[in-house]
């Protein structure tokens, strides 16, 4: 799939309101250019992200999913990101076991001051998904009923 360079993946990113969303916002206000493949969904905390969100996004046409939250210890709600980490680790291993490439499901810690890191994260996620190509394992065949 590596030669398929025209492919531009759809990435769904769940960003926590307090760190990662602000970090992505900072990247914008600092005029950092990053790939436009990402579709951001703001959630109040990475602990809000139900692991089924990942599955559902992949079903509905996302080629990859990124969950991003505050660094451990910095969570606005004390330890939401710790719960998210546990849940997500299991989900990620499980999807890999089913044959969904691990490049598609990623998690990162991006704080409100890390606009530059946000750019790096998105670039890495995009590269990873471009390598493995479009998601075709269990995407819905009829997307628009």
């Amino acid at each position: 799939m590596a030669e398929n360079n025209d492919f531009e993946p759809n990435i769904v990113a769940f960003l926590c309101n307090w760190c990662s969303y602000a970090g992505a916002d900072l990247a914008g206000t600092s005029r950092i250019t990053y790939p436009s493949n990402v579709r951001v969904i703001r959630v109040m905390c990475s602990g809000r992200v139900n692991p089924l969100f990942v599955m559902n996004a992949l079903q509905q046409g996302a080629d990859g999913v990124l969950i991003s939250g505050c660094h451990p210890g910095d969570c606005h709600y004390m330890h939401g990101n710790y719960y998210a980490r546990r849940r997500f680790n299991l989900m990620r291993n499980f999807l890999e076991y089913l044959g969904v490439e691990p490049q598609r499901v990623r998690m990162s810690w991006v704080s409100a001051s890390e606009g530059a890191k946000w750019k790096e994260v998105i670039e890495e996620v995009r590269e990873g998904i471009k390598e493995v190509g479009p998601m075709d394992q269990f995407k819905r065949r009829q997307l628009n009923w």
Partner: protein, 327 residues
């Protein structure tokens, strides 16, 4: 071997008690070697109770399956105990249910049966396909003795033993009020060879494997209904708002169903194997559950259904949990 006279006597005694509502056990099935669940409501019914290697069902499911109807005005809720017969694996379901505060320990009365293994009915069926009248299976040493049609057949234990029993870690119940037999030493262990073998394949091979399995699914939801851990009154599968997965039977929705079902058992599945046993299209559901079981043990050093005092895995965390996968 469980002494049937002792079992029936004990059941009669238990069901006669003021504070016991029903006794859930096993009785012979209507054909072949099968046994079926028995719901004993009075002392007279206790005489048909049995325990043989054919008693495969996990009776822990029935405790949480029972619908709790609203109590009429002026009536008291029925708070009498439910007595239940459990094997080692089934007792872990009880432990996990209590760990999740599904009910209090005082609500149940547990008759533990130290178990040396039960049969896989599919294997029995394949070996003796035409037995229609009621037969009997007994475990003697390392052989199953099957008696039917007035004849007796001996079969090596490994040939008919259920897969879950070949890797059973807890043959003696972990929770009980009475034990019906002497304790059984652990005779097997789990090396997760199947999970690891599958995990080593490439992504394409893995998906090809699971696509074939999932595409067979007819979405009968037997696996959910039989599961002792699937007792949410409002199940995510039945919800229409939000509708997590559509009810159409296609590969996308089937995969979504199996991911959700397995994920909801992450850190909760106690390896009783009931889901795979009831599956009408032979989907290896335990391979999904066992992946989580393996991960949970490896990553978080947690084994579901072993200690009532443990908090449920996903409602706790440790600061030092692994995060090498995080960017």
């Amino acid at each position: 071997m469980v002494d049937l006279t002792k079992l029936r006597e004990m059941a009669r005694e238990v069901i006669s008690r003021e504070d016991v509502r029903e006794f859930i056990g096993y009785r012979p099935g209507t054909y072949g070697f099968r046994a079926r669940p028995a719901f004993v409501m009075g002392p007279d019914d206790a005489d048909e109770l049995i325990f043989t290697p054919a008693c495969v069902n996990n009776l822990a499911s029935y405790i949480v399956l029972e619908e709790k109807l609203p109590v009429k005005r002026g009536e008291e809720p029925d708070l009498r105990k439910v007595a239940v017969m459990v094997k080692g694996c089934d007792s872990r379901a009880l432990v996990q249910q209590m760990e999740e505060k599904a009910y209090d320990r005082e609500r149940i009365l547990v008759l533990g049966i130290p178990c040396r293994g039960v049969v896989d009915m599919a294997k029995v069926q394949a070996k003796f396909p035409d037995v229609l009248e009621v037969g009997d299976i007994a475990l003697e040493g390392d052989k199953f003795v099957l008696s039917f049609n007035g004849s007796k057949e001996e079969v090596a234990k490994e040939e008919l033993l259920a897969d879950k029993c070949a890797r059973c870690r807890y043959p003696t119940p972990l929770v009980y009020d009475e034990l019906l037999d002497a304790e059984v030493e652990r005779f097997a262990d789990d090396d997760y060879a199947d999970v690891e073998e599958l995990g080593k394949r490439s992504a394409e091979e893995k998906w090809a494997y699971w696509e074939e399995k999932f595409s067979r699914c007819i979405r009968c939801y037997s696996c959910r209904n039989v599961c002792p851990m699937c007792y949410c009154e409002d199940c995510v599968l039945d919800r229409l708002q939000p509708q997590w997965m559509r009810r159409s039977v296609d590969i996308s929705e089937n995969a979504a169903y199996h991911i959700s079902r397995a994920y909801h058992l992450a850190g909760r599945c106690i390896q009783c194997g009931e889901c795979q046993r009831v599956c009408p299209v032979d989907i290896p559901l335990m391979e999904l559950n066992r992946k989580f079981y393996h991960d949970v043990e490896e990553l978080y050093d947690y084994e579901p259904g072993t200690n009532v005092e443990n908090p449920p895995l996903l409602s706790t965390f440790k600061v030092e949990d692994r995060e090498d996968f995080i960017m």
